[in-house]
Symmetry: C2
């Protein structure tokens, strides 16, 4: 048990460690947030129409500070630094989340489509105005009938060789563009994703820049815009719908980085396979998922900071005869509710840091290997899923831990909860994303994995030996070296301490390999046995999700462990190691049934994990306030009246 | 595995079974809901001020139909039927939840205080006007500084023998009344809970009827009312704050069923112990908790009905070569996400039915044994906790399962989620309630258990032999008879089928007894070892919660099992048995680590539980629509645009 010695925290050093190399950018954004702090009041008091305008103003003000172009090329007025741009976005997520999402739509999604899918003519035409928020755009991908399955969009673009124009049409009501941020009111342009048909033959989904409103904000001919109306949250974002009735745009409006249509209507692309082409295009938009994942981590930090500080102010019940009641955080249960979640926020922070560094490298290295790029996309998908679910969970627990006060809009949970709720859905439904992760693992990010749908993966795996699937995974190689670390459940003697990071990692690696090979075996057995691939996949699906989650949790723990190891000289080394232990052991505890079922955890040791989690909570209780202060969230962003009151 | 035979559902018979003996009342409320269905639109489109007035109008209209007085005595214009009044409230929870909560405040809390804590003079003066919603009142118990620990309220009432008045004062800012429904705008009267001091001596908390507003709605002298402002949800309820500055009310305004003060200022009560007196008073308000728990079950039904119906309309992804995509509910994962939760809604429905029947009996039987009354209060607390957490969880999963469409206010999740969020807090914080349940178990509902605070419980238990604690519990006696049913994990042979209800119950009973005795042992060991009771309790607290949850889950399964057994001739017997199996096994699965840790589940059998849960999901998939139709929620209440669209 880890009752002693007491850990201490050097808060400024902790903030420096967390802020990392982009501290300057983060502090610039913090300053912007504080200057615009009244937007948090406006969120409560303005009606939706007025608040949308307010949020637009904030975005345009932000653009004037240079904080919005960090990820764009310098020749177009940007900062040329993808890592910095994500750091800015993560920090922006401490503030109002309508501002965040509107910024994400404008600079990340619309800007990202123009930058990544377009070529010089689009960059020259749009980027500078876009970065400065003079040109507002939207990202018109999702349709009412197709969110996750983007390949089957119903919007169609044909080419009219006479006029050298593309003609864009919403073919059915379920093909209307839906939930599109910036579409209901503010966007003058849309990046429209549509199936390109040339001479009646589909070439798959492509993106087009389509003007949708004139200077007065009226719909352009053939375009119909609508409003999604009231939403659960994000009241400052004008989500809307778009219908296209034979809307014509010049041939040059095709975002033609990966494919083009000649004046006389001949289609060409360097990527022959239409599926691969589609996934290559989608892959360039990975930054959006990385950004949302980072925002999820930030939102969880805000929620847990408020909940921890409230638990250090609020007292309830007391020992008989004592005049003073007990602080909430002195209750073991309250520690249990907040501190493992706090450890998870730390863990995800460091995992996100690794992901951002990889993305930054990929964005600056034209020779970044294709396979690594696919692994990066997969990691981005998985991190987004874990981080946004963690946000939902932490905000919910934080609200409940603050009781009735947490329910009032004067405190921040109401907005945090309502605004973040859709994070688990947009930029990819989390369950669909985890299936993408599993697909990558099962196919070893092979060149054709993106083209395989879920049923195709089942067939693909069936064609391999299961051993092949497993031996190619990175974890398998690591595991060979670590086999000795991991005792079987029968072997009670000489067990490594639960606080041994090698042991913790070995546990997560062993689970990952075992779950993954189990999935491969079940898929293979089903297909070999002649079962319909659809039925096989459906029956194995929860196992597939477990494999992906096991993989992601291993990556997260590795990132945290590496960080602690690299911080051996840091004044906060010991406390970070304790937070890492709490993350690792509460993660193992949550799935301890699985390890017991598979003979890797004895019942006695399983109980010891629970005891150690409790002991770590007690150990970290005295530094809980320091740990949340380390996030350096501007106090104005906590906006929690309840923290100002005496109880 | 339970792949066959296929179960079928007789939907009208299922609705009759679920509606039970109060079908007529439920149908009356359904009719009212449909007539007032536009309140669901108003919830989205009206601003808070206008919506509050709208909700008040709905309440007053309801009162005119006779649906609001069911639980009050007939001589005062009521229906004299507590069971019917709760059935009405449960059904009302299919509709807008501001209406529900405002009705709960007016008729349940304020009305309940006058009825249960007052005597004939109060009943004569207030009940008829109150039932007919001509007199609007609020229930002023919670303060900013004291929600859970009501015994330590800061509001004080003294008696002025000169004027024969009570003088009520808010002694500190944290003693202001807070979150009080009806207080911000509509209430003319408040039932104020305050510590009564006579000659400088505290007699504990008592309730007083205090006029707070005049006929024009202005604060009366000495009273200050405030508005809690915007909240996460329940925008139609005017939650507010109250401050009292020496407010004087006649002596007769003390709600004097359990204690009185004579004209010359002498305090008297039939219950000598002030703690016991306090808990006796509180106990009479049990109906509020029963009502909120029932409303939680109803809210989960609405959410799961929408999510199931959407999953039977919406398609996404498809087998290669197939023109049609797959329905969401044909995915194994989607079944996993929705169907065990649906089974839990069924289980909680039947558990709630038992609870309501017990409450009804207690309310009509003046000789209802004291110990049973305490057990009933405990059961109400635990059911409320489980049901409201289930509501939060089902609504969240349902929203996510409906993707972006679930986020729009045009569908019902936005309101459902925001409005129900505080259910886990009001009428008692769920974690505090589960501790109350555990306290009852540990002390066998003994006459003094209510007076013991949590630290006192530790001391109490320490004074007993652990065996005494255990032997007195009901489950212990049941277990004796069932010991044979339960195989140990070593004994692989002759294991009963997982679908044997005796086995399922024996598992839950064994866990309850074992966890409870573990808590008793740990408390005793800590106290005997000289550890501070505060520290002992804090360290054992998560274990305490586990004991309470284990107890409640056993009661829920028993209620479901009894219902199925009694329905042997019902056309829906087999499908109900399958739903019961799904509830039982998914409950066991969720905590299977615990049974493995304690040698009651082998790893092979644990995996079999998971397989059986999946098989039951597949088995129930074809009747999922029938199972939600069985709830007989008026289609207007689903108010989900997404269910009307084609995809």
């Amino acid at each position: 048990m880890s009752e002693s010695p007491q850990v201490t925290v050097d808060v400024p050093a902790l903030s420096r460690l967390l802020d990392g190399e982009h501290a300057e950018v983060r502090n610039l954004v913090r300053k912007n947030l504080v200057e615009q702090a009244d937007v948090l009041d406006d969120q409560v008091h303005l009606d939706a129409t007025a608040f949308r305008e307010r949020v637009k103003d904030v975005i345009q003000h932000m653009a004037s500070t240079g904080a919005t172009g960090l990820g764009f090329p310098q020749e177009h007025g940007g900062g040329g630094n993808v890592g910095a741009s994500i750091a800015a976005f993560e920090t922006l997520a401490f503030g109002d989340l309508s501002v965040l999402v509107k910024a994400g739509v404008q600079f990340g999604l619309f800007g990202g489509a123009v930058l990544q899918l377009g070529t010089k003519r689009h960059h020259d035409a749009y980027l500078r105005d876009l970065i400065e928020a003079r040109l507002l755009g939207c990202f018109a991908m999702t349709e009412s009938g197709h969110g996750s399955n983007v390949q089957h969009l119903g919007t169609v673009a044909t080419y009219d060789v006479e006029t050298r124009e593309f003609v864009i049409t919403t073919t059915t009501e379920s093909a209307r563009k839906d939930y599109i941020g910036n579409a209901a009111a503010h966007a003058s342009h849309a990046a429209v994703f549509a199936v390109l048909e040339i001479d009646g033959e589909s070439q798959g989904v492509h993106a087009f820049v389509v003007p949708i409103r004139d200077a007065e904000g009226h719909d352009l001919p053939g375009v119909r815009t609508g409003d999604d109306g009231a939403k659960m949250g994000l009241h400052g974002v004008d989500n809307g719908r778009l219908w296209f009735d034979g809307v014509r745009v010049p041939r040059e409006n095709l975002l033609n980085r990966y494919a083009d249509v000649s004046e006389d209507g001949v289609y060409s692309s360097d990527i022959e396979n239409p599926d691969r082409r589609f996934f290559t295009m989608l892959g360039t938009l990975v930054q959006g998922r990385v950004s949302v994942g980072g925002a999820g981590v930030s939102a969880s930090k805000v929620a847990l900071t408020i909940a921890v500080k409230y638990a250090l102010k609020r007292r309830q019940f007391g020992a008989p005869g004592s005049d003073e009641e007990e602080l909430l955080l002195d209750y073991g249960l309250h520690q249990r509710r907040l501190l493992p979640r706090l450890a998870t926020s730390y863990a995800l922070h460091f995992a996100q840091e690794v992901l951002v560094a990889q993305l930054h490298q990929a964005s600056t290295d034209p020779d970044y290997p294709e396979r690594d790029r696919r692994a990066l996309e997969s990691r981005a998908a998985g991190t987004k899923a874990l981080a946004t679910w963690h946000a939902t969970d932490s905000i919910q627990e934080g609200r409940e831990a603050c009781g009735g006060a947490g329910y009032l809009a004067a405190n921040r949970f109401a907005a945090l909860k309502a605004d973040t709720d859709v994070f688990t859905t947009f930029e990819g439904d989390n369950h669909v994303l985890l299936q993408l992760v599993a697909k990558g693992l099962l196919t070893d990010y092979s060149t054709n994995f993106e083209e395989l749908d879920q049923f195709g993966v089942a067939r693909f795996v069936a064609d391999l030996a299961v051993e092949t699937v497993i031996e190619r995974t990175a974890v398998h190689k690591l595991l060979e070296r670590l086999r000795d670390v991991l005792p079987s459940s029968d072997d009670g003697s000489d067990e490594p301490t639960l606080l041994d990071p090698d042991y913790q990692l070995a546990m997560l690696r062993w689970r990952e390999e075992h779950v993954l090979s189990g999935v491969a075996r079940r898929l293979k057995r089903g297909i070999d046995g002649g079962t319909d691939p659809v039925a096989v996949f459906s029956q194995v699906q929860d196992h597939v999700i477990h494999a992906a989650r096991s993989h992601m949790e291993r990556l997260v723990l590795e990132a945290f462990t590496d960080k602690v190891a690299a911080a051996s000289e840091d004044p906060n080394h010991d406390v970070l190691a304790a937070v890492r232990d709490l993350y690792a052991l509460s993660t193992i505890e949550a799935d301890r049934a699985w390890w017991m079922e598979h003979g890797r955890l004895s019942s006695a040791r399983s109980k010891a994990v629970t005891r150690e989690v409790n002991a770590l909570c007690r150990r970290l209780r005295p530094v809980a306030d320091d740990l949340v202060d380390g996030f350096a969230i501007p106090p104005e962003m906590l906006r929690a009246e309840m923290l100002e009151q005496g109880y």
